[in-house]
């Protein structure tokens, strides 16, 4: 049994992962309204920005309506106990342009992510954040694609660079609870820093997987209001709040306010709340980044192919997050092969 007297850190990624679900068009008014709700709910961190993090506004992934720094400053104004965090992927974001810019906006936690086998590209970014006196965690994305031992080795690299926590992301929503137990369990056992899990709901397992992570010793858990996130969405925070409370895990969460935050998000982003559909299910099965759902649907429509075929083909090619450009190539190839509906 896990030690429930230890404090669980709850990260609210609504205004970052939700960006994928909202085609990166989140407005400052929405940031303000939701940040206040998150603060009230007692979540420890609120992550804000483009779906792929700092500097990721692009034709490749999608252009943000509002620049990073405006979103961050606006969110910061609404927060006091809840700390402001950002997602950073080296290869998209640079240290001097994006990270220093975010530091100036008052960001307190930088979650430096990379594809789960490439931790050494985070070395300079993590070191820079730590040298600036701020908090840095490592994030291993698409972590369903690597064996537990590989994840441990990569997480240890991040720990050695100075990361103060490491989060496994199930970016494709492809985990089963048994995978979570094995991977989180190994990391928890062998790392000095706290371990976290970030679920997606493509196979309907986001809460089950989050709970498996906590039971295996995770001290950090990610979620979004009503699951507002890429693909089929994340672990819904309001449900996590209920489950954490029922299981007597120790958190700062105010249950009613967390439930309210879910309702507020549902109103703010009405019409864009994620839902399970054939594309998100196939995305989870194929183990492809959840954020590909919208661009795959677009490309499949334009080129007249079945989006599910596109997902399975992308899965076969083991694409990583950031390879959205390959969607078009794959869809075009399928169209040429006569995969027309």
């Amino acid at each position: 049994m896990p030690d429930t007297t230890q404090q669980i850190t709850v990260c609210d990624a609504t205004l970052r992962d939700g960006s994928h679900a909202y085609s990166h068009r989140i407005t400052l008014d929405q940031v303000r309204a939701y940040a206040a709700a998150s603060e009230a709910a007692g979540f420890d961190y609120l992550e804000v920005g483009h779906g792929n993090g700092l500097g990721a506004s692009s034709l490749q992934v999608g252009e943000s309506l509002v620049p990073d720094d405006e979103m961050l400053r606006t969110a910061k104004e609404c927060l006091s106990n809840t700390r402001l965090s950002v997602h950073v992927i080296p290869g998209f974001a640079t240290i001097h342009r994006e990270i220093d810019g975010a530091i100036a906006c008052g960001v307190e936690l930088f979650r430096i992510g990379c594809h789960c086998t490439e931790a050494d590209i985070t070395q300079r970014h993590i070191s820079h954040v730590r040298a600036a006196g701020l908090e840095a965690w490592g994030v291993l994305m698409m972590s369903h694609m690597a064996e537990p031992e590989v994840l441990l080795e990569e997480a240890k690299k991040m720990q050695s660079y100075g990361a103060q926590g490491v989060v496994l992301m199930d970016s494709a929503g492809a985990y089963f609870p048994v995978d979570v137990t094995a991977k989180i369990g190994l990391l928890e056992d062998r790392l000095e820093i706290p371990v976290g899990f970030h679920a997606h709901d493509n196979l309907g397992l986001s809460i089950a997987n989050s709970l498996a992570a906590l039971d295996a010793g995770a001290r950090i858990i990610d979620g979004t209001a009503k699951g507002f996130g890429a693909g089929a969405g994340n672990a819904p925070l309001e449900i996590l709040a209920a489950v954490l409370g029922k299981r007597k895990f120790s958190t700062r969460i105010d249950l009613y306010k967390a439930l309210d935050a879910g309702e507020i998000a549902a109103e703010l982003f009405a019409g864009s709340m994620p839902e399970s559909n054939s594309i998100t299910i196939v995305s989870g099965l194929a183990g492809v980044f959840s954020g590909f759902a919208k661009p795959v649907r677009r490309a499949a429509e334009q080129l007249g192919v079945d989006p599910r075929d596109v997902f399975f083909e992308l899965g076969k090619r083991k694409v990583v997050g950031g390879q959205e450009d390959l969607i078009l190539a794959v869809a075009a190839e399928l169209a040429k092969k006569g995969g027309i509906k």
Binding site: T117, E147, E149, V150, E153
Partner: protein, 350 residues
């Protein structure tokens, strides 16, 4: 076919028929073998020959050898295999591999105990830095599917007497500031160097830790217990054992050894380490008796030749992990292994 060739062919047929995890991943592949002219290398070539001839595996092999001409002279049948290419070179000066190599079996090492004493620096150089050189070359390959590192059961240091078998997690002490540790330390460092490549470039390394073995193609000039005993028996005896004969070893037959290595090349899990050897313990005195039993008159066995007070020791692996992951088993029990080895050495003397 000469009787001596028939003997090996029968062994190869039998061991491949014993089944293992699928070897089919090796079909049409190009295997690069270092140390391919030693006993393991020759047996690997025999098994691959059978897979190619009888099962159309289409495996190509390149063997790096310091002296390929002498190999071809001594073993013209093996040397003439159409799918085999021998290249001359020292692993320490290797600059690149054939670009289409898909599997590497790194068996080259200085394993002669006499060299540990006379040229310990060379042992360290070849075993550790030769491995580093090979790993770097492997990283330039188009599609490297497996890098099999032959380490040694000696990396475990001393096995506690009360432990029946040592498994892969066991870590015994090796004294680093001792020239007598050079072989074990060179193998330990080679393992660590290989793990660096795993961490840096995700090279699919499988580490094997072989224990003792016996069989055809084994040189009787090596000062190991089993080779000593066979050589002395062929010479009419006596067999001389330094201690009281209670020291415990386990000995695997060469066809099994090569088959396990081949199975690891096809199906070994990257990053994993496997003990390779027989899990069946045998004391030196029983070993000596099982050898002399094949001679008439049986050579005498003298024990307690050496100074008293030397500890008996033991080296027996737990091989359940290899059996599970590779689907292999020991097909030739120790008694039969000895019988076949003695027969081969008799025939090769004719």
């Amino acid at each position: 076919m000469k009787p001596i060739e028939q003997l090996i062919r029968n062994d190869a047929v039998q061991v491949l028929a014993s089944g293992s995890k699928d070897l089919s991943d090796l079909k049409s592949r190009h295997i690069f073998i270092t140390g391919g002219t030693g006993i393991l290398g020759k047996w690997l070539l025999e098994l691959i020959n059978l897979l190619n001839e009888d099962n159309d595996y289409g495996i190509r092999v390149t063997v790096l050898s310091r002296n390929p001409r002498s190999f071809i002279t001594l073993y013209p049948r093996l040397g003439a295999m159409p799918w085999l290419k021998l290249i001359e070179g020292d692993i320490r000066h290797l600059s690149e591999l054939p670009h289409d190599v898909s599997h590497i079996i790194h068996a080259a090492a200085l394993t002669d105990r006499r060299l540990f004493a006379s040229q310990p620096g060379n042992v360290a150089d070849v075993n550790a830095f030769g491995t580093l050189r090979l790993l770097r070359a492997a990283n330039l390959l188009e599609d490297i599917r497996k890098f099999v590192l032959l380490s040694s059961g000696l990396v475990y240091g001393a096995q506690p007497w009360e432990t029946a078998q040592i498994d892969e997690k066991f870590a015994g002490p090796v004294r680093s500031n001792d020239v007598n540790s050079v072989y074990a330390e060179s193998k330990r460092f080679a393992e660590t160097i290989a793990q660096c490549a795993v961490s840096e470039t995700k090279l699919p390394v499988v580490t094997l830790r072989p224990f003792a073995f016996v069989g055809p193609y084994q040189s009787l000039q090596l000062p190991w217990a089993v080779t000593d005993f066979i050589r002395d028996s062929l010479a009419g005896g006596p067999i001389r054992i330094m201690g009281d004969g209670t020291t415990v070893r386990s000995i695997m037959y060469a066809s099994d050894f090569a088959h396990w290595v081949l199975a690891a090349t096809a199906a070994g899990k990257p990053r994993e380490t496997y003990n390779i050897g027989s899990p069946e313990p045998i004391s030196l005195i029983s070993l000596a008796e099982s050898i002399t039993g094949h001679f008439n008159p049986a050579p005498s066995i003298h024990t307690g030749i050496g100074q008293i007070g030397h500890d008996r020791n033991k080296l027996v692996p737990d091989v359940s992990l290899a059996m599970k992951d590779l689907g292999v088993k020991v097909t030739v029990p120790i008694g039969e292994a000895i019988r076949r080895s003695v027969e081969w050495h008799r025939l090769s003397q004719i």
